[in-house]
Symmetry: C2
Protein backbone atom coordinates (compact mmCIF):
# COMPACT_ATOMS: atom_id res chain seq x y z
CA UNK A 1 0.00 0.00 0.00
CA UNK A 2 1.03 3.60 -0.47
CA UNK A 3 1.30 4.59 3.17
CA UNK A 4 3.81 7.38 3.70
CA UNK A 5 5.32 5.91 6.84
CA UNK A 6 4.44 3.35 9.40
CA UNK A 7 1.92 5.20 11.57
CA UNK A 8 1.87 4.54 15.31
CA UNK A 9 -0.87 2.47 16.89
CA UNK A 10 -1.97 5.44 19.00
CA UNK A 11 -2.55 7.60 15.94
CA UNK A 12 -4.40 4.80 14.16
CA UNK A 13 -6.67 4.43 17.16
CA UNK A 14 -7.51 8.14 17.08
CA UNK A 15 -8.47 8.13 13.40
CA UNK A 16 -11.95 6.63 13.93
CA UNK A 17 -12.60 9.25 16.60
CA UNK A 18 -11.66 12.07 14.21
CA UNK A 19 -13.90 10.49 11.62
CA UNK A 20 -16.80 10.27 14.09
CA UNK A 21 -16.50 13.90 15.19
CA UNK A 22 -16.02 15.25 11.68
CA UNK A 23 -18.96 13.28 10.30
CA UNK A 24 -21.17 14.71 13.06
CA UNK A 25 -19.95 18.24 12.35
CA UNK A 26 -20.49 17.79 8.64
CA UNK A 27 -24.06 16.64 9.34
CA UNK A 28 -24.60 19.70 11.52
CA UNK A 29 -23.51 21.94 8.67
CA UNK A 30 -20.12 23.02 10.07
CA UNK A 31 -17.92 23.98 7.11
CA UNK A 32 -14.56 24.92 8.59
CA UNK A 33 -12.84 24.17 11.88
CA UNK A 34 -9.49 25.14 13.36
CA UNK A 35 -7.31 22.56 15.06
CA UNK A 36 -7.97 24.56 18.25
CA UNK A 37 -11.75 24.18 17.99
CA UNK A 38 -11.43 20.53 17.03
CA UNK A 39 -9.14 19.93 20.00
CA UNK A 40 -11.62 21.58 22.40
CA UNK A 41 -14.39 19.34 21.12
CA UNK A 42 -12.36 16.16 21.20
CA UNK A 43 -10.40 16.62 24.39
CA UNK A 44 -7.03 16.50 22.61
CA UNK A 45 -4.44 19.26 22.28
CA UNK A 46 -4.32 21.25 19.05
CA UNK A 47 -0.68 20.31 18.58
CA UNK A 48 -1.57 16.62 18.98
CA UNK A 49 -4.13 16.97 16.22
CA UNK A 50 -1.69 18.72 13.89
CA UNK A 51 0.93 16.06 14.58
CA UNK A 52 -1.57 13.28 13.91
CA UNK A 53 -2.61 14.82 10.61
CA UNK A 54 1.02 15.36 9.63
CA UNK A 55 1.47 11.58 9.68
CA UNK A 56 -0.70 11.62 6.57
CA UNK A 57 0.80 14.71 4.99
CA UNK A 58 -1.34 17.27 6.86
CA UNK A 59 -4.68 18.50 5.60
CA UNK A 60 -4.95 22.16 6.52
CA UNK A 61 -3.39 25.51 5.92
CA UNK A 62 -1.80 27.21 8.88
CA UNK A 63 -4.18 29.75 10.41
CA UNK A 64 -6.95 28.92 8.02
CA UNK A 65 -8.37 25.77 9.55
CA UNK A 66 -9.68 22.62 7.97
CA UNK A 67 -12.52 22.17 5.53
CA UNK A 68 -14.67 19.76 7.56
CA UNK A 69 -16.16 17.89 4.65
CA UNK A 70 -12.82 17.46 2.85
CA UNK A 71 -11.06 16.40 6.02
CA UNK A 72 -13.81 13.93 6.84
CA UNK A 73 -13.48 12.44 3.37
CA UNK A 74 -9.71 12.25 3.61
CA UNK A 75 -9.87 10.39 6.90
CA UNK A 76 -12.58 8.14 5.51
CA UNK A 77 -10.21 7.21 2.68
CA UNK A 78 -7.24 6.74 4.99
CA UNK A 79 -9.34 4.36 7.09
CA UNK A 80 -10.42 2.58 3.92
CA UNK A 81 -14.10 3.33 4.51
CA UNK A 82 -14.65 4.59 0.96
CA UNK A 83 -14.76 0.93 -0.10
CA UNK A 84 -17.37 -1.74 0.62
CA UNK A 85 -16.65 -4.89 2.56
CA UNK A 86 -18.37 -8.25 2.72
CA UNK A 87 -18.74 -9.64 6.20
CA UNK A 88 -19.81 -12.88 7.87
CA UNK A 89 -20.65 -13.40 11.51
CA UNK A 90 -19.85 -16.67 13.30
CA UNK A 91 -22.16 -17.14 16.27
CA UNK A 92 -25.83 -16.10 16.31
CA UNK A 93 -26.04 -15.60 20.07
CA UNK A 94 -27.01 -12.33 21.76
CA UNK A 95 -24.14 -10.28 20.47
CA UNK A 96 -24.03 -11.88 17.01
CA UNK A 97 -27.70 -11.10 16.58
CA UNK A 98 -27.32 -7.56 17.89
CA UNK A 99 -24.51 -6.90 15.41
CA UNK A 100 -26.53 -8.42 12.56
CA UNK A 101 -29.46 -6.19 13.51
CA UNK A 102 -27.43 -3.02 13.55
CA UNK A 103 -28.08 -1.16 10.29
CA UNK A 104 -25.34 1.41 10.93
CA UNK A 105 -22.65 -0.94 9.59
CA UNK A 106 -24.34 -1.12 6.19
CA UNK A 107 -24.48 2.63 5.97
CA UNK A 108 -20.68 2.59 6.25
CA UNK A 109 -20.29 -0.06 3.55
CA UNK A 110 -20.13 -3.25 5.63
CA UNK A 111 -22.45 -5.87 4.16
CA UNK A 112 -23.22 -8.84 6.36
CA UNK A 113 -23.68 -11.73 3.95
CA UNK A 114 -24.47 -14.57 6.37
CA UNK A 115 -24.44 -15.62 10.00
CA UNK A 116 -23.28 -19.07 11.06
CA UNK A 117 -24.20 -21.11 14.09
CA UNK A 118 -24.29 -24.68 15.38
CA UNK A 119 -27.73 -24.41 16.97
CA UNK A 120 -30.36 -26.25 14.87
CA UNK A 121 -33.07 -24.01 16.32
CA UNK A 122 -31.37 -20.94 14.84
CA UNK A 123 -30.22 -22.42 11.52
CA UNK A 124 -32.67 -21.48 8.76
CA UNK A 125 -33.89 -18.35 10.52
CA UNK A 126 -32.91 -14.94 9.26
CA UNK A 127 -32.19 -11.50 10.72
CA UNK A 128 -33.05 -8.52 8.53
CA UNK A 129 -32.98 -10.87 5.58
CA UNK A 130 -29.55 -12.23 6.52
CA UNK A 131 -29.68 -16.02 6.75
CA UNK A 132 -28.40 -18.01 9.71
CA UNK A 133 -26.61 -21.00 8.18
CA UNK A 134 -25.03 -24.15 9.55
CA UNK A 135 -21.46 -23.39 10.61
CA UNK A 136 -20.39 -26.48 8.68
CA UNK A 137 -21.08 -24.48 5.52
CA UNK A 138 -19.07 -21.46 6.61
CA UNK A 139 -15.84 -22.34 4.80
CA UNK A 140 -17.55 -22.96 1.45
CA UNK A 141 -19.55 -19.78 1.84
CA UNK A 142 -16.47 -17.66 2.53
CA UNK A 143 -14.57 -19.12 -0.40
CA UNK A 144 -17.48 -18.47 -2.77
CA UNK A 145 -18.60 -15.03 -1.62
CA UNK A 146 -15.51 -12.84 -1.50
CA UNK A 147 -15.71 -12.21 2.23
CA UNK A 148 -13.30 -9.63 3.63
CA UNK A 149 -14.13 -9.55 7.33
CA UNK A 150 -15.06 -12.28 9.80
CA UNK A 151 -16.83 -11.36 13.02
CA UNK A 152 -16.28 -13.91 15.78
CA UNK A 153 -19.12 -14.11 18.31
CA UNK A 154 -18.80 -17.77 19.29
CA UNK A 155 -18.00 -19.00 22.80
CA UNK A 156 -14.45 -18.58 24.06
CA UNK A 157 -13.41 -22.21 23.55
CA UNK A 158 -14.37 -22.14 19.87
CA UNK A 159 -13.07 -18.69 18.99
CA UNK A 160 -9.56 -19.61 17.85
CA UNK A 161 -10.82 -22.58 15.83
CA UNK A 162 -13.42 -20.46 14.01
CA UNK A 163 -10.83 -17.73 13.44
CA UNK A 164 -8.45 -20.27 11.92
CA UNK A 165 -11.17 -21.58 9.61
CA UNK A 166 -11.98 -18.07 8.42
CA UNK A 167 -8.34 -17.35 7.70
CA UNK A 168 -7.90 -20.67 5.91
CA UNK A 169 -10.61 -19.53 3.50
CA UNK A 170 -8.89 -16.25 2.74
CA UNK A 171 -10.37 -13.78 5.23
CA UNK A 172 -7.85 -11.05 6.01
CA UNK A 173 -9.58 -9.35 8.89
CA UNK A 174 -10.96 -10.73 12.16
CA UNK A 175 -13.20 -8.73 14.50
CA UNK A 176 -13.32 -10.88 17.62
CA UNK A 177 -15.79 -10.48 20.48
CA UNK A 178 -15.06 -13.76 22.28
CA UNK A 179 -13.36 -13.07 25.62
CA UNK A 180 -9.94 -14.30 24.54
CA UNK A 181 -7.28 -12.72 22.34
CA UNK A 182 -7.43 -14.78 19.16
CA UNK A 183 -4.19 -15.01 17.22
CA UNK A 184 -3.72 -14.45 13.51
CA UNK A 185 -0.78 -14.67 11.12
CA UNK A 186 1.09 -11.46 10.30
CA UNK A 187 -0.89 -10.89 7.10
CA UNK A 188 -4.28 -11.03 8.82
CA UNK A 189 -5.53 -8.04 10.79
CA UNK A 190 -7.28 -8.63 14.10
CA UNK A 191 -9.12 -6.57 16.67
CA UNK A 192 -9.97 -8.32 19.90
CA UNK A 193 -12.82 -6.39 21.46
CA UNK A 194 -13.26 -7.04 25.16
CA UNK A 195 -16.40 -5.31 26.35
CA UNK A 196 -15.85 -6.44 29.93
CA UNK A 197 -12.46 -4.74 30.00
CA UNK A 198 -14.10 -1.34 29.61
CA UNK A 199 -16.60 -2.19 32.34
CA UNK A 200 -13.76 -3.15 34.69
CA UNK A 201 -11.88 0.03 33.87
CA UNK A 202 -15.05 1.97 34.59
CA UNK A 203 -15.40 0.32 38.00
CA UNK A 204 -11.77 1.06 38.82
CA UNK A 205 -12.29 4.71 37.95
CA UNK A 206 -15.53 4.92 39.93
CA UNK A 207 -13.80 3.55 43.01
CA UNK A 208 -10.84 5.86 42.52
CA UNK A 209 -12.88 9.07 42.32
CA UNK B 1 -9.57 5.99 48.42
CA UNK B 2 -6.27 4.53 49.48
CA UNK B 3 -4.55 4.48 46.10
CA UNK B 4 -0.78 4.74 46.42
CA UNK B 5 -0.35 7.17 43.57
CA UNK B 6 -2.31 8.38 40.65
CA UNK B 7 -1.89 5.49 38.20
CA UNK B 8 -1.60 6.25 34.48
CA UNK B 9 -4.50 5.61 32.13
CA UNK B 10 -2.38 3.11 30.15
CA UNK B 11 -1.73 0.98 33.24
CA UNK B 12 -5.38 1.13 34.26
CA UNK B 13 -6.38 -0.08 30.80
CA UNK B 14 -4.03 -3.05 31.10
CA UNK B 15 -5.42 -4.19 34.47
CA UNK B 16 -8.53 -5.88 33.02
CA UNK B 17 -6.30 -7.74 30.58
CA UNK B 18 -4.08 -9.04 33.40
CA UNK B 19 -7.21 -10.05 35.25
CA UNK B 20 -8.56 -11.90 32.20
CA UNK B 21 -5.34 -13.81 31.59
CA UNK B 22 -4.78 -14.65 35.24
CA UNK B 23 -8.34 -15.85 35.71
CA UNK B 24 -7.95 -18.17 32.72
CA UNK B 25 -4.66 -19.50 34.05
CA UNK B 26 -6.16 -20.03 37.48
CA UNK B 27 -9.00 -22.00 35.91
CA UNK B 28 -6.50 -24.11 33.99
CA UNK B 29 -4.73 -24.96 37.24
CA UNK B 30 -1.58 -22.87 36.75
CA UNK B 31 -0.16 -22.09 40.19
CA UNK B 32 2.88 -19.92 39.58
CA UNK B 33 4.04 -17.78 36.71
CA UNK B 34 7.12 -15.64 36.10
CA UNK B 35 6.80 -12.16 34.64
CA UNK B 36 8.65 -13.59 31.63
CA UNK B 37 6.05 -16.30 31.01
CA UNK B 38 3.22 -13.85 31.61
CA UNK B 39 4.77 -11.39 29.17
CA UNK B 40 5.08 -14.10 26.49
CA UNK B 41 1.43 -14.96 26.87
CA UNK B 42 0.19 -11.40 26.90
CA UNK B 43 2.43 -9.83 24.30
CA UNK B 44 3.94 -7.34 26.75
CA UNK B 45 7.54 -7.10 27.93
CA UNK B 46 8.44 -8.59 31.30
CA UNK B 47 9.78 -5.24 32.45
CA UNK B 48 6.49 -3.57 31.48
CA UNK B 49 4.63 -6.07 33.63
CA UNK B 50 6.93 -5.53 36.60
CA UNK B 51 6.57 -1.77 36.22
CA UNK B 52 2.80 -2.02 36.04
CA UNK B 53 2.64 -4.15 39.16
CA UNK B 54 4.99 -1.80 40.97
CA UNK B 55 2.36 0.93 40.62
CA UNK B 56 0.42 -1.10 43.17
CA UNK B 57 3.36 -2.05 45.35
CA UNK B 58 4.47 -5.10 43.36
CA UNK B 59 3.16 -8.59 43.97
CA UNK B 60 6.04 -10.97 43.43
CA UNK B 61 9.41 -11.93 44.70
CA UNK B 62 12.33 -11.48 42.32
CA UNK B 63 13.17 -14.74 40.57
CA UNK B 64 10.38 -16.62 42.21
CA UNK B 65 7.43 -15.57 40.09
CA UNK B 66 3.87 -14.77 41.02
CA UNK B 67 1.30 -16.94 42.71
CA UNK B 68 -1.40 -16.89 40.02
CA UNK B 69 -4.36 -17.16 42.31
CA UNK B 70 -3.11 -14.50 44.74
CA UNK B 71 -2.17 -12.13 41.93
CA UNK B 72 -5.54 -12.64 40.28
CA UNK B 73 -7.25 -11.81 43.56
CA UNK B 74 -5.11 -8.74 44.13
CA UNK B 75 -5.93 -7.36 40.71
CA UNK B 76 -9.58 -8.20 41.22
CA UNK B 77 -9.51 -6.09 44.38
CA UNK B 78 -7.61 -3.25 42.73
CA UNK B 79 -10.22 -3.17 39.98
CA UNK B 80 -12.94 -3.22 42.64
CA UNK B 81 -14.43 -6.47 41.34
CA UNK B 82 -14.55 -8.06 44.81
CA UNK B 83 -17.68 -5.97 45.41
CA UNK B 84 -21.14 -6.25 43.85
CA UNK B 85 -22.72 -3.51 41.77
CA UNK B 86 -26.31 -2.73 40.89
CA UNK B 87 -26.84 -1.79 37.29
CA UNK B 88 -29.60 -0.40 35.09
CA UNK B 89 -29.72 -0.35 31.31
CA UNK B 90 -31.37 2.48 29.40
CA UNK B 91 -32.44 1.31 25.96
CA UNK B 92 -33.81 -2.16 25.24
CA UNK B 93 -32.74 -2.25 21.57
CA UNK B 94 -30.41 -4.85 20.08
CA UNK B 95 -27.39 -4.06 22.19
CA UNK B 96 -29.34 -3.34 25.39
CA UNK B 97 -31.01 -6.71 25.10
CA UNK B 98 -27.76 -8.48 24.28
CA UNK B 99 -26.11 -6.99 27.39
CA UNK B 100 -29.12 -7.92 29.53
CA UNK B 101 -28.93 -11.47 28.21
CA UNK B 102 -25.26 -11.86 28.96
CA UNK B 103 -24.93 -13.87 32.17
CA UNK B 104 -21.18 -13.28 32.45
CA UNK B 105 -21.69 -9.89 34.08
CA UNK B 106 -23.59 -11.43 36.97
CA UNK B 107 -20.82 -13.91 37.57
CA UNK B 108 -18.53 -10.93 38.12
CA UNK B 109 -20.95 -9.24 40.54
CA UNK B 110 -22.84 -6.90 38.23
CA UNK B 111 -26.58 -7.22 38.85
CA UNK B 112 -28.85 -5.73 36.22
CA UNK B 113 -31.89 -4.54 38.16
CA UNK B 114 -34.02 -3.13 35.33
CA UNK B 115 -34.01 -2.06 31.71
CA UNK B 116 -35.76 1.12 30.56
CA UNK B 117 -37.22 1.98 27.20
CA UNK B 118 -39.75 4.29 25.55
CA UNK B 119 -41.22 1.60 23.27
CA UNK B 120 -44.68 0.50 24.55
CA UNK B 121 -44.24 -2.84 22.79
CA UNK B 122 -41.17 -3.60 24.92
CA UNK B 123 -42.35 -2.13 28.23
CA UNK B 124 -43.70 -4.90 30.46
CA UNK B 125 -41.62 -7.61 28.82
CA UNK B 126 -38.68 -9.13 30.63
CA UNK B 127 -35.27 -10.56 29.75
CA UNK B 128 -33.96 -13.33 32.00
CA UNK B 129 -36.41 -12.09 34.62
CA UNK B 130 -35.20 -8.49 34.32
CA UNK B 131 -38.15 -6.21 33.66
CA UNK B 132 -38.28 -3.67 30.86
CA UNK B 133 -39.86 -0.57 32.42
CA UNK B 134 -41.04 2.76 31.09
CA UNK B 135 -38.11 5.15 30.94
CA UNK B 136 -40.30 7.73 32.70
CA UNK B 137 -39.84 5.60 35.84
CA UNK B 138 -36.07 5.39 35.55
CA UNK B 139 -35.24 8.25 37.90
CA UNK B 140 -37.46 6.95 40.70
CA UNK B 141 -36.12 3.46 40.23
CA UNK B 142 -32.50 4.60 40.46
CA UNK B 143 -33.14 6.65 43.59
CA UNK B 144 -34.90 3.75 45.31
CA UNK B 145 -32.65 0.86 44.32
CA UNK B 146 -29.09 1.90 45.12
CA UNK B 147 -27.91 1.76 41.52
CA UNK B 148 -24.16 2.14 40.98
CA UNK B 149 -23.78 1.85 37.22
CA UNK B 150 -25.90 3.11 34.33
CA UNK B 151 -25.53 1.49 30.91
CA UNK B 152 -26.57 3.80 28.09
CA UNK B 153 -27.85 2.00 24.98
CA UNK B 154 -30.28 4.64 23.71
CA UNK B 155 -29.96 6.41 20.34
CA UNK B 156 -27.27 9.03 19.95
CA UNK B 157 -29.56 12.05 20.28
CA UNK B 158 -30.89 10.87 23.65
CA UNK B 159 -27.64 9.62 25.16
CA UNK B 160 -26.52 12.78 26.94
CA UNK B 161 -30.00 13.45 28.31
CA UNK B 162 -30.32 9.93 29.71
CA UNK B 163 -26.79 10.16 31.13
CA UNK B 164 -27.68 13.44 32.86
CA UNK B 165 -30.81 11.90 34.36
CA UNK B 166 -28.85 8.96 35.70
CA UNK B 167 -26.27 11.25 37.28
CA UNK B 168 -28.97 13.48 38.76
CA UNK B 169 -30.24 10.41 40.62
CA UNK B 170 -26.84 9.60 42.10
CA UNK B 171 -25.28 7.18 39.62
CA UNK B 172 -21.48 7.51 39.73
CA UNK B 173 -20.56 5.41 36.73
CA UNK B 174 -21.74 5.56 33.10
CA UNK B 175 -21.03 2.82 30.55
CA UNK B 176 -22.06 4.40 27.27
CA UNK B 177 -22.59 2.54 24.00
CA UNK B 178 -24.29 5.34 22.05
CA UNK B 179 -22.00 6.59 19.28
CA UNK B 180 -21.16 9.89 20.93
CA UNK B 181 -18.84 10.72 23.82
CA UNK B 182 -21.22 11.56 26.66
CA UNK B 183 -19.91 13.99 29.23
CA UNK B 184 -20.01 13.61 32.98
CA UNK B 185 -18.95 15.78 35.93
CA UNK B 186 -15.54 15.13 37.48
CA UNK B 187 -16.99 12.91 40.20
CA UNK B 188 -18.74 10.56 37.77
CA UNK B 189 -16.73 7.92 35.91
CA UNK B 190 -17.52 7.29 32.27
CA UNK B 191 -16.45 4.85 29.59
CA UNK B 192 -17.59 5.64 26.08
CA UNK B 193 -17.45 2.39 24.13
CA UNK B 194 -17.40 2.85 20.38
CA UNK B 195 -17.66 -0.53 18.73
CA UNK B 196 -17.43 0.98 15.25
CA UNK B 197 -14.08 2.54 16.12
CA UNK B 198 -12.51 -0.89 16.50
CA UNK B 199 -14.06 -1.98 13.20
CA UNK B 200 -12.60 1.04 11.44
CA UNK B 201 -9.19 0.43 13.00
CA UNK B 202 -9.42 -3.15 11.79
CA UNK B 203 -10.16 -2.03 8.24
CA UNK B 204 -7.25 0.40 8.33
CA UNK B 205 -4.93 -2.38 9.45
CA UNK B 206 -6.25 -4.80 6.84
CA UNK B 207 -5.60 -2.28 4.08
CA UNK B 208 -2.17 -1.50 5.46
CA UNK B 209 -0.94 -5.10 5.56
Amino acid sequence: MSRRNRVSEAVIRRLPKYYRYLKDMEKSGVERISSRELSDKMGLTASQIRQDFNCFGGFGQQGYGYNVSELCNEIKKILGLHKNYNVVIAGAGNLGQALANYVGFEREGFYIKAIFDVNPRLIGMSIRGIQILDIDHMKDFIVNNNIHIGIVCVPKDKAQEVTDQMIECGIKSIWNFAPIDVETPADVAVENVHLSDTLYTLVYKMNEI
